[in-house]
């Protein structure tokens, strides 16, 4: 038909509508306008694009799909191809544009002109800023050695560029947020499996090999029971599929039990909330394990708790059992009851013996199930290793480890990345030092202040101990350089905020402002970030880092099966910011120009021609997992061989199978390949991946109930005869061979040493994590308006303040007045049980002061609610006392919001990994 002919259907005769009616009808609809053809062509060239990248608004690093209109990021969505978040983003992720386009962003390099802490800076060029840093680093290296410099890469995983440079520079001290996050929580999986984080099998979709050999996304939930102890995935993300997956698993019939002193968001979705006394998770788990061991009956289907097949893939169970049982006949001085009995646990946890028995029975009998313990609840106590070890054992002996619907160690299943791009190879360089008048040679990493100092087993570094090290310096206790003394003179902090989150705030401030003569003791403090947080106020140099929509790197976080995705350039760099890669290259060049013998052009400026080259190198080892488990990811290739290459090439058989190296090598994953595949590579799922060693990373390639991971530290002690102080504190002279037990600190209900504080300091303080209120994201305006979990609440006063914005030379008053009406802005509050509040004659909104037995204090407003057990107070970690003007409105409420780290005991660092005891706090309360 001729297009010009109008068919009968086109000639629908419309009667009764007049032109006037048409105008009426059309009003409100979106109309179109006609463009000049050149203009249309120009816009067409810049039509909206969807770019795939990875978030950093929180460490879950969800896969994102960002809409870009004419070069402007206009909306943030989840990347539907990324199974971690499967297309979802939380409110915080969606509001990321307020971070990227925040008026308080650090815009230019700055150099301090006032005293540290005053926040007075001048704008300088990149050349000047980098030159300043390079001069200082060169001088420090010459005078004290490169080991006097710490590179602390904070909370985001794209740290590789910085680590590479500083390892090459010669320091062994490249650290990150892990050591102040949840090291005790990770400990059991680490020493028993070589892993880190056990999570329930609820990441969906899973890419599953079908009987016909094809691959299909599986959305079914097989788990029947999840117990979350002190873990609140609904606000404390990192594992973004857990909130979604918990709800879906429940809808699919799973039972959810939450053990937590507070009615968390997760608890509010659960079938059962068990409000345990803070710091007694280990007690509960130990009683559950004892119950299961004593009550197991393999002949009774209702008591067949243990799946003894675990003995095939583990070693040392008898030793573990003997060590565990050795406590059963001992009496606890706190209550004169036998350790790990139901009555003993009931007395300590404040959960009835019947309830504990029911919980143990339910966990033992329900399969598949997962017992998950958390960051705040268990990891932030001095003895947080214990629930982690016992919890790992419980998942293993009940047959729930790496089975469909069970518990997965996600550290073991994620893709490899980094490889030589991380610069770890520089750590094995031989260096010489003169120790006690004698020249000694050893590898660079043997200069590490923790591993060869007071914390040999703190393999994530001891950031909480830095203030002491800054003030006192380092004396190595172990290894070839034993006796070597050096000060800490340079601190490069990138995307972290140690002053608020590192450990005790006052100690950090003291350490960073301590003077030696006219100079600061720590001679160089550099702050590299996008927002200006408190730690930046103590910096000598501030470098504006490109935001997460303006830089590249890789994310892998904690999936159930290997996957890796790209953080990619979405928009142009804003202001004068630079990417981590560019900063690495600039600083490398500046050091080379100053004659640094260790930083070589061949490793930096000549090696990588463009940013993509660096990340291609980091991708070369992906996924790097063995072809093991059921169903084997690639049944066509040999079992147990390491898998390398793109999913596509592996699937198509474009591989080389190397029998000698036991490798199946497909075409390498590259930035280009990822960009062509929605930013992500996903390899197939399998279960039972421990069979034949599989993904286990222990020395024996079995689950180790005897802690061989500690052997090398014991060897160091044997060689030096020097027992680390933290072990001495426990009365140990060596790391234990298997199960161990010790009490947490500042808990008068479980540790007799603290019983005397019970009456005068009647409240235990725990810290909750508020998803909105992480250190950097308080600058996001939208999030300040959303309340959360009774911890982050619109209890602000009516204030009119002088507006402060971060300008080219630091924070400055704009001259404008800003009125924030009462009750319109959420602030960190003190969550208190209403009965406690009534007893103290306190009402919601009253300002109170919390004081510890060692005299530290913080202030906050009471939120009197039923959602926390009596005798316990909860405050948001990093949610108060925020004194950086770079944070926007939150800053104006710094005096009425509590800073948990004002209360943290600087001496309470957990004995094996040196993690601060963020939840081991006792206080008294006074109305202000």
């Amino acid at each position: 038909m001729n297009e010009n002919e109008i068919s009968r259907r086109d000639f629908l005769k419309i009667g009764g509508l007049t032109a006037g009616a048409l105008a009426g009808v059309a009003s409100g609809t979106v109309t179109f306008r006609t463009l000049e053809s050149a203009e249309a062509a120009r816009l067409a060239a810049a039509a909206p694009q969807v770019k795939y990248t990875a978030d950093v608004m929180c460490p879950a690093e969800c896969g994102l799909a960002v809409r870009v209109d004419n070069g402007i990021a206009s909306a943030i969505y989840g990347n539907p191809y990324c199974p971690m978040n499967a297309g979802a983003v939380c409110a915080k992720g969606a509001s990321g544009l307020q971070m990227v386009y925040n008026p308080n962003r650090i815009k230019y390099p700055m150099i301090r002109v006032g005293e540290r802490g005053e926040g007075k800076f001048k704008r300088v060029s990149w050349d000047e800023a980098i030159g300043y840093v390079a001069d200082k680093l060169t001088a420090i290296k010459k005078k004290y050695g490169p080991e006097s410099v710490i590179m602390d890469a904070g909370d985001i995983t794209d740290r590789d560029t910085y680590w590479r440079l500083f390892f090459a520079f010669g320091t062994p001290h490249c650290t990150e947020h892990g050591s102040i996050c949840d090291t005790p929580r990770r400990h059991g999986p680490r020493i028993m499996l070589g892993g880190k984080r056990i999570e329930p099998d609820i990441m969906r979709p899973l890419l599953v090999r079908q009987p016909d050999g094809s691959l299909k996304n599986d959305y079914t939930y097989k788990t029947r029971l999840i117990i979350y102890a002190g873990w609140n995935p609904f606000t404390a993300t990192r594992i973004p599929y857990e909130s979604r997956g918990t709800v879906e698993a429940k809808l699919a019939g799973a039972k959810i039990i939450v053990v937590d002193p507070a009615l968390s968001n997760t608890a509010s979705k659960a079938d059962q909330w068990i409000p345990i006394r803070p710091g007694t998770d280990a007690d509960l788990f130990a009683a559950m394990l004892r119950y299961i061991l004593e009550q197991d009956n393999q002949n009774d289907p209702f008591r067949r708790y243990i799946d003894w097949s675990f003995e095939e893939y583990s070693q040392g169970w008898d030793d573990f059992l003997a060590a565990f049982k050795s406590w059963w006949d001992k009496k606890d001085p706190v209550n004169n009851l036998n350790y790990f009995s139901l009555e003993w646990a009931a007395q300590r946890t404040d959960i009835s013996a019947d309830k504990i028995a029911e919980l143990a029975h339910t966990f033992g009998i329900t399969k598949p199930a997962a017992l998950i313990w958390g960051m705040n609840g268990t990891g932030h106590h001095y003895n947080g290793y214990l629930p982690s070890i016992i919890g790992t054992a419980l998942n293993i002996i009940t047959g729930n480890f790496d089975v469909p619907g069970g518990a997965i160690d996600t550290e073991l299943t994620k893709s490899d990345k980094g490889g030589s791009s991380t610069g770890k190879q520089f750590l094995t360089r031989k260096v010489k030092r003169v120790v006690n008048g004698k020249e000694v040679e050893g590898e660079q990493d043997k200069l590490h202040m923790d591993y060869f100092g007071d914390w040999p087993s703190a393999w994530d570094d001891v950031v909480g101990d830095y203030p002491r090290r800054f003030m006192e310096g380092v004396t190595l206790q172990q290894g070839p350089f034993r006796g070597h003394r050096y000060p800490i003179k340079g601190y490069i902090l990138r995307t972290g905020n140690s002053v608020i989150t590192g450990s005790n705030t006052q100690e950090w401030v003291k350490a960073l402002t301590m003077k030696e003569g006219n100079d600061y003791k720590v001679e160089l403090v550099v702050y590299v970030d996008t927002p200006l947080l408190e730690s930046g106020l103590y910096a000598d140099v501030i470098l504006p880092e490109a935001s997460y929509l303006e830089r590249m790197s890789l994310s892998d976080i904690y999936p159930s099966h290997p996957l890796i995705y790209l953080r990619d350039f979405v928009i142009d760099k804003q202001h004068e910011s630079k990417t981590p890669y560019e900063i690495m290259q600039l600083l490398a060049k500046a050091l080379i120009d100053r004659g640094d013998a260790d930083v070589k052009a061949a490793d930096f400026t000549e090696k990588y021609k463009k940013e993509e080259d660096f990340w291609d190198e980091a991708l070369a080892g992906a996924p790097g997992k063995p072809n093991s488990g059921l169903v084997r990811p690639y049944p066509q290739y040999p079992e147990g061989y390491k898998i390398l290459g793109t999913p596509e090439s592996l699937e198509a058989g474009r591989v080389k199978v190397d029998a000698e190296k036991k490798e199946i090598k497909g075409e390498p994953v590259t930035v280009k390949w990822l960009r062509e595949n929605h930013g992500i590579a996903v390899w197939p799922m399998s279960y039972y991946r421990y069979k034949g060693g599989g993904i286990l990373k222990t020395g024996s390639k079995k689950v180790e109930f005897v802690f061989k991971a500690y052997d090398k530290y014991n060897k160091l002690i044997d060689e030096s005869g020097s027992v680390p102080p933290a072990l001495k504190e426990l009365g140990w002279d060596r790391y234990p061979k298997s199960f161990y037990w010790f009490e947490t600190k500042w808990n008068p209900y479980t540790n007799p040493a603290y019983a005397k504080y019970k009456d005068e300091f009647p409240f235990q303080v725990i810290t909750g994590r508020i998803h909105h209120a992480m250190s950097g994201t308080q600058s996001v305006d939208w999030l300040g308006r959303i309340r959360s979990e009774d911890l982050w609440y619109p209890l602000n006063d009516d204030v009119t303040v002088d507006e402060v914005l971060v300008g080219s030379d630091g924070p400055k008053a704009t001259g404008r007045k800003l009125r924030i009406p009462k009750g319109t802005w959420s602030v960190g509050v003190v969550q208190m049980n209403a009965s406690d509040a009534a007893r103290l004659k306190l009402n919601t909104g009253d300002l109170i002061e919390l004081e510890t037995p060692y005299g530290t204090k913080t202030r906050g407003k009471v939120n009197a609610v039923q959602t926390i057990r009596p005798g316990t107070l909860r405050i948001a970690f990093g949610g108060g006392g925020r004194f950086s003007p770079g944070l926007g409105w939150t800053y104006y409420f710094k005096d009425i919001t509590p800073d948990a780290n004002m209360l943290t005991d600087p001496r309470t660092l957990s004995p094996i990994m040196g993690q601060p005891g963020y939840c081991d706090i006792l206080v008294k309360v006074k109305k202000v």
Partner: protein, 194 residues
Amino acid sequence: MAMHESLQRRTLLYALLARLYTYPLDERLMEALAALRLDEAPAELEEALGQMQEVAASFTPAEIEVLRVEATRLFDGPGKPMAPPYASFYLHGRLMGPPAASAYRFYLAHSALPNSDGRVAPDHLALELGFLRYLAARAERAATKGRSDEVEESLRASRKFVEGHLLTWMSSLIKSDAFCDADFLNGDEKFTPT
């Protein structure tokens, strides 16, 4: 019937359809709908229109308010709406996917730009229908001036857009379980694709 007249009616019909998916539904729209007459229309179209008109004719302001609430629940949210009126949702699983970009490019290829400052996704049903109205109006103007090649070009674009874009997802929208008991919206959903 003269070409010009038929194009005018086409414009009118698309305007009405676009308006049906634009918040808020109001009395004027109800009146316009009630006044609409179709001659020689297929039976299913008559039926769908009849269903709407029957309800529309008797709406009180309070009932229109109820209808607005229902339309909000279906098309706008809060949260995920029951029947998201976006091509991307059905073809791509989420909003602002490639179908949105391709709709936008299509508009630009025909030198048209929505007057919405990017607030409304380019593949929103109301916008797509609005584009068809724009093309019809353009053809109508060209017909008045006797420029048959321009008429032809606009009609060709219209057909291409309907077949290559609108019809690729409309049926999924209609089939989504979300459609409620409200006879009016039910009729609307049959009326538009027919």
